[in-house]
């Protein structure tokens, strides 16, 4: 068994590591390099211009600044709402039922709810985009919400929700939450299932209501899961683009009011031919993701409760 150890290790690593280095690590490294040049992407000539792209980035009021603002909003709102709803629904499923003989029960039909809630997660983002674009569509295109608002006699935005600068970002965030909640419901639900029932039964005997039970027992014991969920959702929030691309007018409009960082990178790289500038935005996004992970792992660490 000793012999052939290193040849074996090498033979198993050469393909995965090689492919990974070639198609993942190297392109990322190149992007860092490109961000320091003035390369358009189409010609072969470029010069190093230092950090000029990074300086100009924060002067771009047409695309980059709105995009940073919107991605920031998504980053703050989307994980928070998704986690809150996921926890709420998971708690309701597991412990929202009646008390029988001192035992709390979950609600009826928990299995059904889980299946339904989770379904958007397996729909491809193209389907989700097309579906919701029509739901938000203006009345004369047969939108669901505008049609329903009209049916009950309420006013609806004339051009639908996605062509309205006031609603478009909220509409996109709504779809993001809609597709993610089911996943975190199932995730938190399985974490909740591992909390011993005795803790809740003891709480009932002490006369605690569900509110204190949730905040004093469930939440502290789920803290690790919540933290993991928060990191995952934050990374998703930073990478939001496909829905914006599929749903909104001008892929980030109207008037850049749903422009996001990913979309701006894509626009500069593949529409405007400003490679170097696009890469600089990408590097900023990279460091945002990195510091996010570091911060959440540092700050989020609480004392772990063993159970």
């Amino acid at each position: 068994m000793r012999h052939g150890r290193y040849p074996f290790i090498l033979s198993f690593l050469v393909l995965p590591v090689g492919l990974y280095a070639w198609l993942v690590i190297l392109p990322f490294a190149q992007a860092f390099q490109i961000s320091l040049t003035d390369w358009s992407g189409s010609s072969n000539s470029f010069e190093y211009i230092g950090f000029d792209n990074y300086v100009n980035l924060f002067k771009d009021e047409r695309f980059v600044l709105p995009a940073l603002r919107h991605t920031g909003i998504i980053l703050l709102v989307m994980p928070l709402v998704t986690i809150a709803l996921g926890l709420f629904f998971a708690f309701m499923l597991n412990l929202g039922g009646r008390v029988r003989r001192g035992r709390i029960e979950g609600v009826r039909g928990a299995r059904f709810h889980k299946i339904v809630f989770f379904f958007p997660q397996v729909l491809s983002v193209a389907i989700v985009g097309i579906l919701w674009k029509q739901v938000y569509a203006p009345e004369n295109f047969g939108g669901l919400i505008t049609g329903a608002l009209k049916a009950v006699g309420l006013p609806a935005p004339a051009n639908g929700f996605l062509a309205d600068t006031r609603f478009v970002l909220a509409a996109v965030i709504g779809v993001l939450v809609w597709s993610a909640v089911g996943f975190y419901l199932v995730y938190f639900s399985s974490a909740m299932a591992s909390i011993p029932r005795d803790l809740y039964e003891a709480a009932i005997i002490d006369g605690a209501g569900r509110g204190p039970m949730f905040f004093k027992i469930t939440l502290p014991l789920l803290w690790d899961s919540v933290q993991t969920a928060w990191i995952y959702l934050s990374i998703i929030a930073l990478d939001v683009f496909v829905l914006v691309y599929l749903m909104t007018p001008e892929q980030g409009g109207p008037d850049a009011s749903s422009e996001v960082v990913g979309g701006v990178i894509w626009k500069y790289a593949f529409k405007h031919g400003e490679q170097a500038f696009a890469s600089a935005i990408g590097v900023v996004l990279f460091f945002a993701a990195l510091s996010l992970a570091v911060v959440s792992l540092r700050v989020g660490r609480r004392e772990r409760i063993e159970f």
């Binding site: 074996f8 709810h113 193209a126 739901v135 009345e139 569900r210």
Partner: protein
């Protein structure tokens, strides 16, 4: 609710309090759960109904039912919209990309989990770090890399990229999984004269089956939903599109041609196999996807 300070004889009264509270809460929680369930069911069911309407009905009567099911939408989606061939394209790509991901991923993860050598930790963190990289940053260099070796706009190129970008999570997850496997069985196999390769393929892989299934489901769903990579790397010939891309193209074209019915029919056609697979395998899918998130 009131705190229970009563003496033992009054305990039954105190017990009634949480029961009634439970009933109110039960209605409350059922209410909220149903509200969300409807928020999922209504748009999906509505788009199915809409896909049977004529374009006129879609625009003028969004909430009504179609006068008669307009099957033509489905015929149009299938023939003009090419939904069938987009399916086959996606299937073709994924047969290779998922197999490749699982093979390369489990090989790397196995070696990283069970063999000590210089650089082990470095490689492991190298893979794990990849989970955080925003793909946007690499898009253009990746585009150039593939075009340099003439793999741009080819399935081979797309398959290799899918594998490479699925590796971080696959390796991360499977390394943890291989570490948990008992070493007793492996030692017994070695005593019986199994070499490194036989040990991996005949002993360790079968033992890792639950983990492999979970992460395979994770990768199937992830690669099926992929949109950004094909958008950039497989954009020349619209007939070559994978399903998500093909649907998006159909949606763009619908803007000019105004055949909304065909678009929704195509969307429903793309949804049906996912729905069927989901209903049959929902337990495994939920377990597979959430296992991914639990470290």
């Amino acid at each position: 609710m009131a705190t229970d300070t009563s003496a033992p004889p009054e305990a039954p009264a105190a017990k009634r309090a949480p029961r009634s509270e439970g009933n109110v809460l039960n209605v409350f929680s059922q209410g909220f759960l149903w509200l969300w369930a409807l928020m999922v069911i209504v748009p999906v069911a509505w788009i199915v109904v809409t896909s049977f309407k004529t374009s006129r009905e879609i625009a003028t009567d969004p909430l009504g039912l179609p006068a008669a099911p307009h099957w033509e939408n489905y015929v149009n989606a299938w023939t003009n919209g090419n939904i069938g061939s987009f399916f086959l394209n996606t299937l073709f790509v994924m047969v290779f990309s998922v197999t490749g991901t699982m093979l390369l991923g489990s090989m790397a993860a196995y070696v990283l989990a069970r063999y000590e050598f210089v650089g082990n930790r470095l490689l492991y963190f190298g893979f794990a770090a990849g989970m955080m990289f925003p793909v946007f940053l690499a898009l253009f260099p990746l585009f150039k890399t593939l075009s340099n070796v003439s793999l741009l706009n080819t399935y081979t190129g797309l398959i290799l990229v899918y594998i490479a970008y699925s590796l971080p999570f696959t390796v991360f997850f499977l390394t943890a999984f291989f570490r948990t496997l008992p070493s007793g069985v492996a030692e017994a196999a070695v005593v019986d004269g199994a070499g490194h390769y036989r040990l991996f393929f005949q002993v360790m892989l079968p033992m890792a089956k639950p983990g492999l299934i979970a992460i395979t489901i994770f990768n199937i769903i992830g690669q099926w939903n992929q949109f950004l990579l094909p958008l950039v790397l497989l954009s020349r010939n619209p007939d070559d599109a994978v399903i998500s891309q093909g649907l998006a193209n159909l949606a763009m074209r619908q803007g000019y041609e105004g055949d909304a019915g065909a678009l929704f029919a195509g969307t429903v056609l793309a949804m049906v196999p996912i729905f069927v697979a989901y209903v049959i395998f929902q337990r495994q899918i939920q377990a597979g996807l959430t296992a991914g998130a639990i470290k």
